[in-house]
């Protein structure tokens, strides 16, 4: 790591008292390294140690009391046989397919919303955020309610056998994961599209290029965001647990996350096998990162500068308009309409368990849940944790994204990149188990660290699961900000912080709010980490929902779910309204959906 002096100081000038100044400089450099050190210490504490200890069990179960062998490869042997191997291969195929589809669809949506005059642009952009709020298992269950035997379609007299056979398997899993991945791709690509301006297309056209040449230029400049979208959707897909535990499981289509979960959620608990599957998932994420790195090697994509101007919108013809709205509507129906229908219908049916017979529509479940202590206190607890997690994650995510996009810190940047992508690829239960291994060690306790069983550890667990995805979402926008902007501020007399506030923050305010919202919503209903790390007596809302569903209270469980999602939507709406009301017009104008 190098220490850079402020530009205003003459580096070569020799002061009268050189020794004293050097000592002062040394002290200053140590001081300056403090935040850097703190950042890495935090990364080590919340990501490296828990992941490393969990993965270590694959080789040395005895080290953490999980077997008799000090060194063994048995976990890997098991992971490469039977259902476990099938799960890994299925995850690979499903991950690639959903990443490709989501990136393409996300790019399409971003283009429509930001570069055309399609009607309802705010609605479509808003629906992307709404999609982020919907847990993947909810999307999958919504489809299941529709297609299952004696499900809604069949009750309506529509034969669903063929569609069910097609959907209950890899196709359905890819569709749901793609739909879930589209908002990630949209966020990554829309940030890049916003900053791109129109000058590059204009330049291509001025030099004789047709529309296809201009499109090639734009696509080439969007490559970091495209690869970022692909990598994050791939990693999110292979680490997804919601679809794995519902649709994939019901279709007897094993995927790696569920085989990992099965290895440690049932008796006998097999941490070494789960850790071996974790290594494999990590390798899959590494492949995505490798592809991204090789594709972008040696190129600069910094396009957002002081001369960037918002692009003009393409005026769609009537036919194109209809077609575009139809496609966007289809996406919203597939991703939001059907799951919402599933959840809402489930929560409104008295004594749910089936959709046959005379089960009447009622608000009993809501009334029961609203008066139940199982909802209010857990929801408040989850909301508090989600607010803190979102705030910390947005700040740390910004730092991480800046580090990743920095060309001067290649090694640390790549290490961090690998680490974050690895973390995205590992399911939450890995973190949770790793946190228990790390923070419940007798040694840790002897060192005076008593975090296990506290809200603090749960918070750190949330942070660890949220940070990788958030920093990658921010990466697209952060990588576009040119240094010259901030340097121009310094030249005009602003201090370092003031120039950052005036030049960089306005450009990143919108992505930062988006990252906050994304993290808040994701954390509010997070399950695997909550389940293993919640402090005794203070269950988060997701644990309460799961408990209700496990006790066959589908009506109550889904009512809690719907209320929690409505609460999340309310918070999101408030945040965006505040953003509109409190921020200067220029902050909102950059890339805003008009």
């Amino acid at each position: 790591m190098t220490t850079v002096l402020p530009a205003a100081q003459p580096v070569s000038a020799q002061p009268p008292d050189g020794g004293a100044l050097n000592r002062a400089r040394l002290s200053l450099s140590r001081f300056r390294s403090g935040p850097w050190l703190l950042f890495w210490l935090l990364i080590v504490a919340i990501l490296v140690l828990p992941i490393a200890l969990f993965l270590l069990v694959a080789f040395s179960p005895r080290l953490l009391g999980q077997g008799a062998a000090w060194f063994t490869l048995q976990g890997f042997r098991d992971a490469f046989t039977g259902t476990l191997l099938r799960g890994t291969l299925n995850s690979l195929v499903v991950g690639v397919a959903s990443a490709v589809v989501a990136t393409a669809v996300g790019a399409g949506v971003a283009w429509c919303v930001l570069r055309t005059d399609v009607v309802g642009r705010r609605l479509w952009a808003g629906s992307m955020f709404a999609l982020l709020l919907a847990p993947s298992y909810l999307i999958a269950l919504g489809w299941e309610r529709l297609l299952e035997p004696a499900g809604v379609l069949e009750l309506l007299g529509i034969p669903a056998t063929g569609l069910r056979q097609a959907f209950y398997g890899p196709l359905g899993v890819v569709i749901v994961l793609s739909v879930k991945g589209v908002p990630f791709a949209f966020l990554a690509l829309s940030g890049a599209l916003r900053g791109l301006g129109e000058e590059f297309e204009a330049a291509a056209r001025v030099h004789g290029g047709g529309p296809s040449a201009a499109a090639r230029v734009v696509l080439a400049l969007l490559a970091p965001a495209c690869w970022s979208a692909f990598a994050i959707v791939f990693a999110e897909s292979v680490s997804d647990f919601g679809v794995a535990a519902t649709l994939a499981n019901d279709a007897h289509f094993p995927v790696a996350t569920f085989t990992l979960y099965n290895a440690i959620d049932n008796f006998p608990v097999q941490f070494p096998v789960a850790a071996a599957v974790g290594w494999i998932l990590m390798a899959l994420a590494g492949l995505a990162l490798l592809a991204q790195t090789r594709a972008l090697r040696g190129r600069s994509y910094r396009v957002l500068g002081g001369r960037s101007r918002p692009a003009r919108r393409l005026r769609l013809s009537r036919t194109a308009h209809l077609l575009t709205v139809g496609c966007l509507l289809g996406l919203v129906v597939v991703g939001l309409g059907i799951p919402s229908f599933g959840a809402v219908s489930a929560s409104l049916i008295d004594g749910l368990g089936s959709l046959v017979g005379s089960h009447r529509l009622t608000l009993t479940n809501y009334s029961r849940v609203l008066h139940s202590p199982a909802l209010r206190a857990p929801l408040q607890f989850s909301a508090e944790l989600a607010v803190v997690t979102a705030t910390v994650t947005a700040a740390l995510g910004l730092v991480a994204a800046r580090l990743l996009s920095s060309r001067g810190t290649r090694i640390t940047g790549r290490v961090l990149d690998l680490l974050l992508l690895t973390a995205v690829a590992l399911p939450g239960i890995v973190f949770a188990a790793g946190y228990i291994f790390t923070y419940n060690l007798p040694l840790t306790n002897r060192l005076g660290v008593h975090l296990y069983g506290t809200s603090t550890l749960l918070l750190l667990g949330y942070l660890a699961t949220a940070l990788p995805a958030t920093s990658r979402v921010l990466l697209g926008s952060v990588s576009q900000v040119q240094e010259s902007l901030r340097e121009a501020g310094r030249v005009h007399g602003s201090g370092a912080f003031a120039s950052w506030l005036r030049t960089v923050l306005p450009l990143l305010a919108r992505p930062l709010v988006a990252a906050w919202v994304l993290t808040f919503a994701g954390t509010l209903l997070e399950l695997p980490v909550s389940q293993l790390l919640y402090p005794p007596g203070r269950a988060p809302v997701s644990v309460g929902i799961t408990k209700a569903l496990a006790n066959y209270d589908y009506g109550g469980g889904t009512a809690m779910e719907v209320l929690a999602i409505l609460f999340a939507l309310l918070v999101v709406a408030i945040v965006w309204v505040l953003f509109r009301l409190l921020t200067p017009a220029g902050w909102r104008r950059i890339g805003g959906t008009r």
Binding site: F39, L64, N266, P268, I436, N440, S455, Q531, N551
Partner: protein, 367 residues
Amino acid sequence: MSKSLRLALCVGTAVSVAALVAGCSSSSGGSPASSSAGAAPSSSAAAGSPAPLIVYSAQGYDAPVTKAFTQATGIPVKLVDDSTGPLLTKVAAEKNNPQWGLLWVDGDTAFAALDKQGQLLPYTPKAALTSVGQALVPTDHSYVPVSTTVMAALIYNSARTNSVPASYQDLLSSQYSGKVGMNDPSQSGPTYPFIAGLMNQLGGQSGGVAAGEDYLKKLKANGLHVFPTNGDTLHALETGQITYGLIQSSAAAGEVAKAPKNASFNAKAAYLPQSTLLPAVIGIDKAAPPPVRAEAKKFVEFVLSPAGQDAMLKGDPKGDSLFWPVVPGVNALSDLPSFPSAYQKIDPYFWGPLENQVNTFFDSTIK
């Protein structure tokens, strides 16, 4: 490192640390659990007040029971109430430094394994047990059965069928082809004891695994449906995907009691010989500090007392409270039929270690 990166780093880290500290202080400050659960329970005992007893439980009635226990004894309880799977995962992950004082879940195979690992404190409660209860007590008294259910109850939709099988062999006939569903043993805790019970019944400890696998293959050939857990199998029954489901007796009795009855759905339950006992079991952490172990023993005594049994029976009357008591003089809830006459108890020390092998077979061959 460039200046802007350093600046971003300073700002980001400062905001993060500030928010984290604020969050931690608010969350830990507001939670009595958070301040002491990670520390050794004995520390608070040293201060004069009783150490909290940390109870890991998967029982639907555990919250009212622990509340009643605290009221009766003054001993504070911190309840970690979750499904059996996550609780056993926590117990396994904490093996180097256990935090639980008492574990209370259905099924004794996990307890047999914990006993073999030396994690359980043997204890013989003062309360007498029925003959069924006594049959469930291990020879070394390493855990305590406090109630029992059975695997499996055959729940069926009587609105769609009049045929009720009399034995497990009957389910192999064409009459039941494509109509039977059961849970996945790798996801449903009570289902492995059911399969182990079938194997025990069909071939004993010597030839049971092979005989059981053969039976399951035939059942699959006859169109067996496999669903993840009790709830999913019940859902399949209600939506007409199956007509017969093999699930835990408490889930079946709960469904019969609470599911709306109409022309297309009317759930009833039958018990095929042999029903395998699936007890609710309490184990005490051997590594817990002595005061906590003493509290755990008091908890066991309370659970087996009339007041404890009453709290268990009233705590979840349409769910887990539908058990058969193993304490003399305590009656089961009226929604539960009389205890099946043809029942068996399997040896958890023999069948427990086979669980992974059998589940792998089921996963690859039957599912």
